[in-house]
Every structure is written in C-alpha cells, then in structure tokens.
C-alpha cells in the first residue's frame, strides 16, 4: 500500500517537473519560417519557436493578425529579417505591451546584423531591380554561408535571455554548422557543372544564392513590386534571354504562373519553381531541406 502511494507521488512529481520544464522553454517568435528553422537549430529543446508569416506566403506583403500580438505578449525573444523586409513588424511591436522585445530591448534580434549585404543603394531608390529597398537586398538567408552569421546573432540573443544555457546553444550551433558545411560541399559539387549559367527570375530574391553558387542572374520579370511588367520590358527580357542563352526562369510558388510561363514560352526556356523560404515547397521542411529542394529543382531544369 505504501509502495503504491510512493509510486503515485513519484509519478505526480515527474508530471510536475516535466510541466515546469515545458513551461521553462523559452518562447521565441520569428517573422519568417527560415528564421524559425535556424532558431530551432540553435535553441534545440530549450526553445519553443513560432513564426508569424505562414509558409509559402510573401513575407513582404504580410498583414499581422490579432493572434500575432498575443504571441508577442508572452515571447521572450523576437527574431526578424530586417533590411526593410518585414517592415510590418515595427507597427506590430509598437502595439505589444512587451518592451523587452522592442527595438533596443534585450529580446530584440535583427538577424541581418553583420551580414555583408548586396545591392545597397543608399537611401535613394536606384534604378529598377525589383526592390524598393535602399538598405540592400533582404533575401540574405538564401546563402547558406550567411547561416553562420545569422545563427551567431541568434545565439547571442538567446544567451542574453538565458545565460545558463549558453553552452548548450553553442554546442547546438556547432553541430548544426558542421552538418550544414557537409551539405554545402555537396550542393556546390552538384551545381559546379552549371557555373555561370544564365537565369531569369520573377523577383530579385536570389542574388545571395547566385553569389554562393556562382550563377548568373541576367534579369527580372518584375521590375517594381506589385506593378505588372510592361510589354517593352517583357520584350527586352525575352531578347536578353535569347542573346545570353538563358534557358531557365526561376519562380517562387507565390509568384504568378501566367507571366512566368509566358516569358518562358517566348524564350524557349524551362520554369524552375524554387522555394524562397522554408515551407514554400512541400519538400523544404527546414533550412537544409530548403537548399536540397532548390538545388535539385535547379539541376533538373538545367539538365
């Protein structure tokens, strides 16, 4: 009888401990799925990460929902892309009563910190390359090398909130980078035969990807975000593709199929659908799978 009591007490204690452990997990909110995947890689079991923008949606056009404000209320850390990519987050942060995760607070992490940005145009908007961002092209997570910098920034942010687990975070990050570097070598060999291959993209999301894997982005279908391309521009793109021998048009799943198919047909090119973010394609389940999916799609189209 006493034994049974003891067992019951033990069981109750176990439940309590595991519950407090689960509660103890640090709540992290990220804007995009990519940052969620990278934060998970660093935080491991110690963090509970949610991302605000649903997978496959254009993060630049996201409109926050009431639930998002609720999520931020209890969050200890907020990780964003920065570089004017998730500008809507500024207004969202202003509405939250959680000052720790506001700009300048200990829980605020701008993942673009320390990134070598491409295509900076100062504060004045330069000639059309598909972005109204003066601070540089914001799609920097599409270079796996930048994951080293991003995870370092996330690590510093998590260690600020939870210094006791800094060692765990450090070890997690090291293990992740080791795996990533192994994969990077594999990706680079896969794409090596297609070095300097000319590509046309719908939106200018790929300069970091192109730089790392040595691809030649010759033009973009969308010159200004949200404005349909003019016939003169499309004719120019088709002419350019014929001149440069570009046989692939890169499109993300949320970009219009018709316009891309039209250009591809006129220029006799194939369409490669790549994921710009984790979850945009079914195969791109995490940060590493994202590159696996994209590199396979690209090699399949280039062959």
């Amino acid at each position: 009888m006493r034994c049974a009591h003891l067992a019951a007490a033990l069981a109750a204690w176990c439940v309590l401990v595991s519950a407090t452990l689960a509660q103890d997990r640090i709540e992290v909110v990220t804007t995009t799925t990519d940052l969620r995947s990278l934060t998970k890689a660093v935080g491991g079991e110690r963090v509970a990460v949610v991302s605000l923008v649903p997978a496959g949606m254009d993060a630049e056009e996201y409109q926050p929902k009431p639930q998002d404000a609720l999520r931020l209320k209890t969050a200890r850390t907020f990780v964003r892309v920065g570089l004017d990519y998730d500008l809507w987050a500024d207004r969202l942060l202003l509405t939250t009563s959680n000052p720790a995760i506001r700009r300048g607070g200990p829980g605020y992490v701008d993942a673009s910190y320390g990134i070598a940005t491409l295509e900076v145009r100062g504060m004045s908007v330069g000639p059309g390359d598909g972005h109204a961002h003066g601070n540089g092209n914001p799609h920097y997570w599409l270079d796996p090398h930048n994951a080293e910098v991003i995870t370092a920034t996330i690590l510093a942010g998590l260690a600020r909130i939870d210094p006791e687990s800094a060692g765990t975070y450090e070890a997690n990050r090291k293990a992740f980078l080791a795996r990533l570097n192994e994969k990077r070598a594999e990706w680079e060999t896969k794409l090596a035969p297609f070095r300097a291959i000319p590509l046309v993209a719908y939106h200018n999301s790929w300069p970091y990807f192109a730089r790392r894997f040595r691809l030649d982005l010759v033009g973009f279908i969308e010159v200004k975000p949200g404005v349909p391309p003019s016939p003169g521009h499309l004719a120019g793109i088709v002419r350019l593709m014929k001149e440069r021998g570009a046989k692939i048009v890169v499109r993300e799943p949320h970009e219009p199929q018709r316009d891309v198919a039209f250009v591809a047909e006129k220029a006799g090119a194939k369409v490669a659908t790549l994921a710009g973010s984790v979850g945009a394609l079914p195969r791109a389940t995490d940060y590493i799978a994202l590159f696996d999916a994209n590199i396979d799609a690209l090699t399949a189209a280039a062959r």
Binding site: G56, G122, S124, G126, S230, P231, P256, Q257
Partner: protein, 419 residues
C-alpha cells in the same frame, strides 16, 4: 515595330473579343442600372475557385472551373431576386454587399491556406499582355454561343422583368465575366463593359447603332492603349484603362460639338479652357508668394520640361552651384552602379569576393547614396532660396499672365473703372 506587333497582336485580338461581348452586356447593364454587377460576379467566381483550391483541386482544372461556375450561378439566382427585393434599398447596394462579402469570405478562406493567395490573385488580376491562343480558343466559342443565345432571346431579355429571364441574363453574364476577368483583370473588364457602352449610348439611338459605335470606339481605344503601353513602357492593363478613360472624356467633349449648337459649344469650351489656365496660373502665383519654399507644381513641371527656365531666376553663382551639384549627384550614382555591376560580375567570373570585400562595397554604396542625397539637398536648397528671393516679382508675373489668359472683357472692365 515588328517586335511590338509580335507581342501585341494576340492581346489585341483578345481585346477585340472582350470588347465585342462586353459592349453588348454593358448596354444592358447601363439600362438595368446595375453598374457594379460584374465586380460582384467576378468576386463570386474567385470565391468558387478558392473553395475548389481548398478542397484540393489544382488550378485551371475542370473541377475548379465547375466550382466557379456553380458559385456564379448561385449568385445569379440571388441577383435575379435583388430587383424584387430592392424597394427602399437600391439594387446597387445589394450588389455591393454581395461583392464585399464574397471578397471577405475569400480572404478568410485564404487565411487557412496561404498558397491560395496567388490563386485568388490569378483569377482577379489577369494580365491581357500574357493572354494567348489558348484563351482565344476558350472565349471565342463561349462568347459566340452566349451572343447567339441573347440574340435569339432578345425580345425576352431586354423588356420584361420576370425572375427567370433575369436569372438567364445574370448567369450568362457571369459565365462571360468569369473567363474575361481571369484574362484581363477586374479593372480592365470593367472598362470594357462600361466605357464603350456609355459612348455607344451617348451617340446612338437604337441598339444596333449603339453597339456599332461602342465596338468601334472600344477597338480603337484598345489598339491605342496597347500601343501606348509598348511605346511608353507602361503596364498594359493600367495603360488600357487610362486610355478608355481618356476616350470617354473625349467623347464627352465631342458630344456638344456634334449634337448641340456647335458655335455655342465651341465658345464655351474655349472659355472654360482659358478660365482653367488662368485659375492654375493665379493659384501658382498665390502659392509662390505665400510659401516660396514649398512645392511649386507648375514651376517644377515647367522646369523639368524646359530646364533653361531656371536661368530666368537663378543668379550666375546659384546656377553654377546647381549645375555642379547635379553633375556630382549623377557621378555618384554612376559610380555606385559601377560597384554593383562589379560585384555582380564577380559572382560568376574569377574568384568570389570574400565577405570583407562585400561589406566594403556595401559601405561605399551607402556613402555614395548619402552623398547623392546631399547633392540633391543642395539643388533643392539653391532653388528654394532663389524662389524666396523672387517671390513677389514671380507672383506678380504669374498673376499678370493669369489676367491675360482669362477670357475677361477688358472693355467692360475699363468702363467699370472709369465710372
């Protein structure tokens, strides 16, 4: 030019087909006073397609089209009833409610399946530029069939107010709009529907002449809009909508000249134009005198078109500063572009630039951007100071021009003064 033709002949043929059927429906829609019914039907069709997508049917499949059509027919039943229901509340209000509820319901659905957003966008923001033979192969038989049906039923569809014939009208119109909005987008389809019909109704008395005038106006305007979009490098749909707007304005201006007392109409037009110009000049004069450092739209436009106008009020040293700043701004821009091009080149040629070099280029680019902004500030400041200096003289000159331009009887003014 051959390149333009290669790009534009298919969209032009599609536009001719769309004008053909929509001008007819437009005349009907104007007569029934249900102007925005096409927006409501298009939104309902999009809602149907979104529902199909949520249930796992791929885009542009038979099932998706079936869902769109089923939703549209349901809406047609509702619309047929709106005439009976519309007592104190106008029919247009009920149509508006159908539109906003369908749009909001689609957003709620998409919220559960984010990939659907693109789907919905594709249905409502077609791009006529990328339409092709495939679209023609669908719409030509469909529109011909619907056109024949309406012609054979014309006596029943135009006059009476029975529920059944209202349903037939809205259902066939829904089938037309569902396909045309997917091809050309909501804005352009609305223009195809209303503007040629409005021009036709303005100038024609019988349905036949109204249709003929609408078709001619619509076809010419489409051709003009497509060509302008190619030559001026503008988004095609938006350029065509503006061309249609302009054609309606021209038709409105021509109407009194063609139909009314010609001499009186001409005189009124000229007087109105002169009053307009005079008012613009006088407003600019007041703006220059009151706030010389603020934007001066008229002066800015004039200076952009004829840069030498600036020498009228800039002193020699100011003109030199202005020109220098402008040259420096252009130089910084060119150097920044060169750096960007250099970085882009190294992505594929030679060794890749390391992160340190990239960061260095970035900081150079940022500096160039700031320096360019600084030069632009100098240009603005020089101009603002010069304008401040000449505010009274400039305002007086503009006011004199306004008085000269106004269709003002100087003799009666002099008589009034001498009294």
């Amino acid at each position: 030019m051959s390149e333009a033709l290669a790009f534009l002949w298919l969209p032009f043929l599609v536009a001719v087909c769309l004008v053909g059927i929509h001008a007819y429906f437009g005349i009907q829609v104007l007569a029934r006073k249900v102007i925005f019914v096409d927006l409501a039907l298009a939104q309902i069709a999009a809602l149907g397609a979104t529902a199909a997508f949520m249930l796992g049917h791929p885009a542009q499949s038979f099932a998706t089209y079936g869902y769109s059509l089923a939703f549209t027919f349901t809406a047609a039943i509702l619309l047929a009833f709106t005439r009976a229901w519309a007592g104190r509340v106008p029919q247009e209000a009920l149509i508006g409610v159908i539109y906003v509820v369908a749009a909001a319901a689609a957003i709620l659905m998409i919220d559960r399946a984010p990939q659907g957003a693109e789907h919905l966008k594709q249905i409502l923001t077609g791009n006529i530029l990328t339409s092709g033979l495939q679209d023609l192969s669908v719409i030509v038989p469909l529109y011909a069939a619907i056109g024949l049906l309406h012609w054979s039923l014309r006596s029943r569809l135009t006059g009476t107010t029975s529920l059944v014939w209202d349903f037939v009208f809205y259902a066939t119109f829904g089938a037309v709009v569902t396909s045309s909005v997917a091809i050309a987008g909501v804005l352009l389809v609305f223009s195809f529907l209303i503007i040629p019909a409005a021009i036709g109704v303005t100038f024609g008395a019988t349905l036949g002449t109204q249709l003929a005038i609408g078709w001619i106006a619509g076809t010419l305007t489409s051709a003009f809009g497509l060509l302008a979009s190619f030559l001026l490098d503008l988004p095609t749909g938006a350029a065509m909508v503006c061309a249609f707007g302009a054609s309606l304005a021209i038709a409105g201006l021509l109407y009194p000249l063609l139909r009314g007392d010609r001499r009186y109409a001409l005189r009124t037009t000229v007087a109105a134009a002169r009053w307009g110009v005079a008012a613009l000049l006088a407003a600019s004069a007041v703006q220059l005198a009151a706030a010389p450092r603020a934007d001066q739209p008229l002066l800015d436009v004039a200076e952009t078109m004829i840069p030498s106008l600036r020498s009228l009020y800039l002193s020699r040293s100011e003109a030199t500063t202005f020109a220098d700043a402008s040259a420096y701004a252009a130089r910084y821009n060119a150097e920044a572009e060169q750096l960007n091009a250099q970085e882009k080149g190294r992505r594929t040629e030679g060794d890749t630039l390391d992160d340190f070099s990239i960061a260095r280029i970035s900081s150079f680019l940022k500096s160039y951007g700031e320096m360019q902004k600084g030069e632009q500030f100098v240009m603005q400041e020089v101009r603002a100071r010069a304008r401040e200096r000449i505010r009274w003289v400039g305002a007086f000159g503009l006011m004199m021009l306004a008085l000269l331009g106004a269709p003002f009887s100087w003799r009666s003014a002099a008589g009034w003064l001498s009294r």
